[in-house]
Symmetry: C2
Subunit: 76 residues, 2 copies
């Protein structure tokens, strides 16, 4: 089975990578870019029958820093 | 309007970050992790009426390295 984990910085946490992308898009002449946030997607190829609970545990322990990041698990 | 751009390494391109995550999950005792690929999500907050063509252009010029990465644009 496959699962996708989306990890984003929580609202209010400064995102320098996103800011850099925003400025770079401006420099390239793209107008109207009001905000950019950058996050991660982690695609997991797991043994069949792995529970969503186990995947959440992976997120809590390793994939996301839950102090500043939120995550969402999507089973594919 | 909002758009999400998903950027992943193409198949066949070595993904050391994904490999590191895979090994780390194994070390933490998670079994059955057969593969991990890591990519990026970029959430764009754009002026209303920005065309999908413009977003594709942003991807080609800045957001993705199309030699080794593929991207997918999702309008939210």
């Amino acid at each position: 089975m496959k699962a996708k984990v989306h990890v984003m910085l929580k609202n209010g946490v400064l995102d320098p990578q996103g800011e850099a992308v925003k400025h770079a898009l401006g420099s390239l002449g793209f107008e109207g870019v009001e905000g950019v946030r950058q996050g991660k997607v982690i695609e997991l190829d797991l043994a069949d029958g792995t529970s969503e609970e186990t995947i959440n545990e992976m997120c809590e322990k390793l994939l996301a820093n839950t102090v500043i990041e939120s995550y969402r698990v999507e089973l594919v």
